[in-house]
């Protein structure tokens, strides 16, 4: 059963796309306050794995327990879990027809049923934290990529999530914008947020991760503390991967 203090538990999780076995026997526990960086070659199933945690993808075997609630077909439970799990996407996925402020208050108002006034105060608080309060009344299309991604982070934070999932949050950004987003994420880590982050920003991994998880071909190949992971990789595939991304 779920151990106290574990925000996510994945036990023997398997998933197939048709005949294709994308996730193979995934076992992973994420403790409260832990920050995990997931890396691995393209197509190794990183996105699929973290998307299973908030049921954007359905797993077919094994168990996923989020904050004490097991993910089943029960729609009510899925919605409950999604409320408490924030997600940031590679391509931001802001709502282009709403202003930044409306993007941030939509879910608090309609999902958490917070009065509009209060939701706007919360939104402005988080916009200030990601350092763009002056953009509140603009539309997403009028912001730079880095600003959009920071809005996306603030949007997730407005729901006061217990866990944040990041799927390559900086890989669609121009190089000079990567830093502003990473800074925001480092700040978030310092505040004690539980984070699961798919990224190839190894500097970020060294700086904030408690654990680095390496995936290949739908499996977890190796997991270790960042120091050990980067200086003494054990598995051949890890070594190969690291030699390719750290020149």
């Amino acid at each position: 059963m779920a151990e106290a203090g574990n925000v996510v538990e994945m036990i023997g999780v398997n998933k197939w796309y048709g005949q294709f076995h994308v996730l193979r026997d995934i076992n992973m526990k994420v403790a409260r306050g832990e920050r995990i960086v997931i890396c691995g070659p393209s197509g190794s199933g990183k996105s699929t794995m973290i998307r299973c945690i908030n049921r954007l993808e359905e797993h077919q075997a094994g168990r996923i327990i989020v904050d004490g609630t097991e993910l089943t077909n029960d729609l009510k439970k899925i919605d409950e879990i999604r409320r408490d799990v924030g997600m940031v996407f590679q391509h931001f996925n802001l709502f282009p027809h709403l202003t930044i402020l409306e993007n941030l208050t939509l879910a608090p108002i309609y999902v958490r049923q917070i009065p509009k006034k209060e939701a706007e105060e919360i939104a402005m608080h988080y916009l200030t934290r990601v350092k763009i309060p002056e953009q509140a009344s603009k539309y997403p299309g009028q912001l730079s990529g880095g600003q959009q991604q920071r809005v996306a982070i603030a949007r997730a934070l407005c729901m006061k999530p217990k866990l944040m999932l990041f799927d390559e949050p900086t890989s669609a950004l121009d190089p000079e914008m990567v830093k502003e987003v990473l800074d925001t994420m480092v700040q978030l880590a310092k505040d004690g947020m539980t984070m699961l982050c798919v990224t190839h920003e190894m500097g970020f991994a060294r700086q904030v991760a408690n654990r680095v998880v390496f995936m290949d071909a739908g499996q977890i190949i190796e997991a270790n503390s960042p120091d050990e992971f980067f200086s003494h990789p054990q598995h051949e595939r890890t070594k190969l991967f690291l030699s390719q991304i750290l020149h």
Partner: protein, 453 residues
């Protein structure tokens, strides 16, 4: 030494953008005479205008007859015979609606225009109340005013089993059929009780179910009560309605019902539930597969043969339902086109925030999808508005029908009567359709303001 190296020494100052050069002449040179193709197009367009415009102006204005009260005034003229339209105007607007009662359609027109203006003009406040009035209250008010109300209601549910009507011998109070209302109250109580027990048995919230059922029945009761009540209005059968009145009743009903129905069908066609999807696909493909004329014919002449004896549905109502379902199917495909253009990431982001299916659709997907397909939607509205004229073949006389009926009046038989009538019809249809078209462009500009993608 190479000349690749460059270091800027001073920053270039901000300069204002260059002014447009040349005024009107410059504009003409750039837009009308910039090359041989452009010059040829300009000359041809001018020739076309010179060819078409003078005869039109002559027919509509210079050669037209403006005053007079019989065909003699128009006999010699080669332009439009406007006195003909003036003499027939009442008929063109109201059809055979009794002259003494024409204030009733007038009130409905005015009420509809005011509410619609309130909905369409963005600056007018109280949009929520306005739409409740327009979509909820106005149809009932219009129905009572136009038809006269005091519908005769017979049986609800229990009355079909127990002959209440015979027992109360058709007693009435303020036009209310007592047997029906006894039936309604008893049946409603029973339904509410059944809802309570069934919901409880299924493990759902019985009280909630009972309250929902009661609320629905009370709403239905209120509507039926208003319809049954005797306001002392002279009944006017739908067969007497005609002209612009019928055109507007049919098209407004079609427009107002086809959009929400179309949205539901479009969502149904993309649903993950097989039954919903199959139903939507069959419905859409059926209605798109048959011509509107067939639908109207079927509704009018064949449907009565299939209905159980004694049950009749008003002819106009049948046409209304036919038109509404027909255009809903087309609308569904337009809306689906919009839905397909919305990236999957939008739904995913909404879901990840905890928004449910309907919230996601309402707040995130639909506003974007509908904004994308405004031209298609309005195109459908315009098509529907013009197609209403097909009700002519099921013996309903819309604007065009009335005009054609007016041609057969020998006291207005002149060489130009026919052209005048059709010209008038063309102008009226054009005003409505052009209005819709312009309004849609206005909405498009508003929805896209400040939203670069």
């Amino acid at each position: 030494m190479s000349d690749i190296a460059f270091v800027r020494k001073e920053i270039a100052p901000m300069a204002p953008p260059p002014l447009a050069v040349g005024g009107i002449l410059g504009w003409m040179r750039k837009n009308l005479f910039s090359g041989w193709f452009n010059i040829a197009m300009t000359v041809m367009s001018l020739a076309l205008i010179a060819l078409i415009l003078p005869p039109l102006l002559r027919f509509f204005f210079f050669d037209a007859v403006w005053a007079g009260d019989s065909r003699e005034a128009c006999l010699g003229a080669s332009g439009a015979c406007w006195p003909f339209i003036k003499a027939k105007f009442g008929q063109l607007v109201y059809g055979f609606y009794p002259i003494a009662e024409r204030w009733r359609p007038d009130i409905v027109f005015a009420l509809g225009a005011i509410l619609l203006a309130g909905l369409l003009i963005p600056r007018v406040p109280f949009k929520r109340w306005n739409s409740i009035l327009f979509f909820g209250v106005f149809p009932i008010v219009a129905l009572i005013f136009l038809g006269g109300g005091n519908f005769s209601l017979n049986q609800f549910i229990i009355g079909r089993i127990i002959p209440l009507a015979a027992m109360l011998q058709g007693a009435e109070l303020f036009g209310l059929t007592l047997s029906f209302w006894l039936d309604f109250v008893v049946s409603s109580v029973l339904i509410t009780a059944v809802a309570y027990f069934v919901a409880n048995a299924l493990g759902a919230d019985g009280r909630f179910a009972a309250r929902a059922a009661a609320a629905l029945l009370i709403g239905l009761g209120a509507v039926l009560l208003t319809l049954d009540f005797d306001f002392g209005l002279v009944p006017v059968e739908t067969r007497q309605w005609g002209g612009l009145l019928v055109t507007l009743v049919v098209s407004v009903t079609g427009i107002v019902t086809s959009l929400p129905l179309g949205i539901l069908l479009a969502l149904g066609r993309r649903s993950h539930l097989p039954i919903v999807r199959v139903f939507s696909v069959c419905f859409i493909e059926f209605w798109r597969g048959v011509p509107l004329i067939t639908v109207l014919f079927f509704a009018t002449y064949m449907l009565p043969l299939f209905l159980p004896g004694g049950l009749t549905i008003d002819g106009l109502l049948r046409a209304l339902i036919g038109v509404a379902l027909f255009s809903a199917a087309y609308m569904a495909e337009v809306v689906r086109g919009g839905l397909q253009a919305i990236p999957k990431g939008q739904t995913e982001a909404a879901n990840a925030l905890g928004l449910g299916y309907w919230q996601t659709m309402n707040k995130v997907v639909m506003p974007q999808a509908l904004a994308l397909v405004i031209p298609g939607i309005v195109g459908n509205f315009i098509g529907l508005f013009k197609d209403t004229t097909l009700v002519l073949i099921v013996a309903l006389f819309d604007l065009l029908g009335q005009i054609r009926a007016a041609f057969s009046d020998p006291s207005w038989a002149t060489p130009t009567t026919l052209f005048t009538g059709f010209a008038f019809a063309g102008v009226v249809y054009f005003i409505f359709c052009f209005g819709m078209s312009r309004y849609s462009m206005f909405v498009e500009r508003r929805t896209s303001a400040g939203r670069r993608r």
